[in-house]
Symmetry: C2
Subunit: 464 residues, 2 copies
């Protein structure tokens, strides 16, 4: 009996080893294809250099959608279509400007001379403009929301300058971002609550340059909407240290406003499943980006990696069991309407979704795959670590997903996964003018696609 | 009895947990210190921008040694000295130039017009110059040493162009380098063996630019020494594809030569051990660099990380049990005389060395720590993984060391360790004009120091 058990166990073990070997061989083939014949880098160059920034509603959004459809078809999608949704249409409306006005020598000394210093600022996304005449008011230095509470009597009629620092002691920079970005999101309304007339937010970044970083703000309808800008780190340090010594007024002018909602699209390509054509695996990134940059890492990278996986599968003649959807989502940055539409349609059509995966953390060297699902699914996911680790994702972590696939996952309890590239450089360039093609490395971008392709292949082959 | 065993086991386990907690707390303190008050980035700016390239024997080498002594003292070395050694003194001697001369339209058609194209080249380190009049000869395309053997009758009087490609399918780029760099090291002598008069080597790089990459060549005394240059990748592709269609001559001029050996120094700082002052832990990088770049990643990074660990230990008031030596080695690039001297003196003085560690793979985001020692030592090393992984080095691998600490390790069987940062970008800039300060990221550099500091601390505390 024992011999039989050993025999059966051995049989299954050998079967597993053989399967793992076959998987290992196929994943290596995909890696070789992507690293040797990859088109992700060239595609990213086209998207960023020929189209550039592509905020929802902009003419560049329309061009990017056309580009996406073309590349999706060229890369071998058996089915490619545009999934329509209404998107918000915020426009910057002109150049953002700010000037600090202060006295030299310091206040209180006779013969005060007013001096000006240009500040490098960018209006926050979704923020209202100052009007033609701009805004001019004294600045109050606020280090945190707690600090705001203690100074709430001082901010009426003033510009609140949130100087909350991006915490350098978190090792993963997304933690610093999670810690700091409430000042961008809620800061303007929190300041308006106490009568402030404008807001300057320290950029959420570890960078060593002075580029300001934009991103969406969200007005609380209970309070007045006030103009708000982000400021570069060097200017923020200058402003904070000088505010300790003297009064400083800032004059700023921004021109942001909303136009009526307009039509946007998710761009969807499919490889039809041979065994389960009505069961879907989604892989995607978001096609929109902020307007002040090329959106190369955020999230051109995720888009071209998504398309690269399609291209590699076709190049190798891989026919998936399940239908794989390659999706370039609309409007992640300031509305998430693309992701919501995708989830709604899946619900309306009673679609069955096996997995949704997203790449939206930059085209940097891959380090980890994150996963959210049941414990049983997570254990299955962990079982694939040895196969994928050689390509960079040597950490398999609990918790994966992405903004765009969130609505689908919440509606259908779809398991989600995400690529976690190294995070150290991401917030140097995130939403800043330095998020350009030149700051993306070809191999790092390609290796991200390799790691995602491997997971998609394993989920397609073995299910979850 | 069983209860006693469980009790004793629990006692030891709790002791271990307590120690691990204390270690975890101290490592976090070091990380916070380095990430908040770190000087590595500023030090690197000084070294690269105020001194720049610093090849052995050059005036910049002397300046860099002075810089090293000053920073070592400022950072709190209790003992700092210059360990003298003789170093080779190769000089580039002028600008390296190359021009391709070919016919348009292709050969054989009447009315041939000669056309010229400038090629971006750099003379290989240690190579001899062409002489004043330069070199002008037809080029033979050689794809590998095997290919050379089949074409050995064709190369006499010609320039051999080794177009061996940096293999994109190796995931770790050091594998591609190990695979390709024999063409730079042995290529010139292998070609001279069959009568070639000059060599052009395809640069060992994955970069997307056209910068040529230098590095040491080694002449075999059995054959004539012939001039040799490396060529940028775009020019290499152009040359290779056009050589398939027509005859191309290249005219090149280089000016390299050796001056008499001169005096160089290892720069050594110490923190004296409180319990074992005569037992040493060495941590280092190499101070020299090629002359055609700033040597920012190679190996300015390793030098400033080494000094940063000293600074952080002092800032936190850490008194090591063993004497820790912080070493900036001389002449790694084209002679290794600094590393040899360090090993020789250790032998002569019968020093006891616990560990030698090196950072010489760039200031990129840390991924792995490598270790070489006995199996027992390796297991002890593995036991520290959980403590260090949160800071980036989540892979603990067998095999660690570095060129500079090699002679010591071989002479005294000293265990060795190395920092392995992410390798994807390293050969984009290695030995090329793009190895500059601007291509180093502040946090990635600092995190490398954090991971090394953690290992040094644990080895100091627990031995090996």
């Amino acid at each position: 009996m024992q011999k039989i058990i050993i025999g059966v166990t051995l049989f299954f073990m050998l079967g597993q080893v053989k399967a793992q070997n076959a998987d290992s061989v196929f994943i290596k083939k995909m890696a070789n294809e992507i690293l040797t014949n990859g088109k992700a880098y060239d595609n990213l160059r086209d998207l960023t250099k020929k189209i550039g920034g592509r905020l929802a509603g902009s003419p560049q959004m329309v061009k990017a959608e056309q580009w996406g459809m073309n590349v999706m078809k060229e890369s071998g999608a058996e089915n490619a279509w545009m999934q329509q949704c209404m998107v918000p249409h915020w426009v910057r409306g002109g150049e953002d400007k700010a000037t600090a006005i202060y006295s030299v020598p310091a206040q209180g000394v006779k013969n005060i001379q007013l001096t000006k210093k240009e500040l490098d600022v960018v209006a926050l996304g979704n923020s209202i403009g100052t009007g033609k005449n701009g805004l001019n008011a004294d600045v109050v230095l606020i280090n945190s929301f707690e600090d705001l509470e203690t100074k709430k009597e001082q901010v009426k009629g003033k510009i609140v300058f949130y100087n909350y620092k991006f915490n350098p002691t978190f090792i993963r920079t997304f933690q610093s971002y999670g810690d700091a970005n409430k000042y961008r999101g809620q800061g303007p309304s929190m300041a308006a609550k106490y009568g402030a007339v404008g807001v300057i937010v320290r950029s959420m970044s570890h960078s060593t340059d002075n580029n300001p970083h934009t991103g969406a703000t969200r007005y609380d309808s209970a309070y007045a909407k006030i103009p708000a800008v982000a400021i570069g780190l060097k200017d923020a340090d200058w402003l904070a240290s000088n505010l300790e010594k003297q009064k400083i007024a800032v004059s700023f002018k921004t021109n942001g406003h909303f136009l009526p909602d307009t039509i946007g699209h998710n761009i969807i390509g499919e490889l039809i499943g041979t065994q389960f054509p009505n069961e879907f695996i989604t892989i995607g990134g978001h096609l929109d980006s902020w307007d002040n940059c090329e959106g190369a890492h955020d999230d051109g990278a995720g888009c071209v990696q998504t398309i690269e996986i399609l291209r590699a599968f076709k190049a190798l003649g891989y026919r998936p069991k399940h239908t794989i959807r390659f999706v370039l989502f609309a409007n992640e940055e300031n509305g998430l309407r693309g992701g919501m539409k995708y989830g709604e349609e899946a619900v309306a059509k009673k679609e069955k979704h096996i997995l949704a995966m997203e790449s939206d953390a930059g085209g940097f060297t891959p380090r980890a795959l994150g996963f959210s699902g049941t414990e049983e699914q997570f254990q299955k996911f962990l079982g694939w670590k040895e196969l994928i680790a050689p390509y960079g994702c040597s950490e398999f972590t609990s918790g994966g997903g992405g903004a765009d696939i969130g609505p689908l996952a919440r509606a259908l309890k779809t398991p989600t996964a995400s690529l976690s590239p190294d995070s150290q450089r991401y917030f140097d360039i995130h939403h800043a003018r330095s998020d350009v093609f030149e700051n993306v490395n070809k191999r790092e971008l390609e290796l991200g696609a390799v790691n995602m392709a491997a997971l998609i292949y394993l989920v397609d082959k073995y299910g979850l």
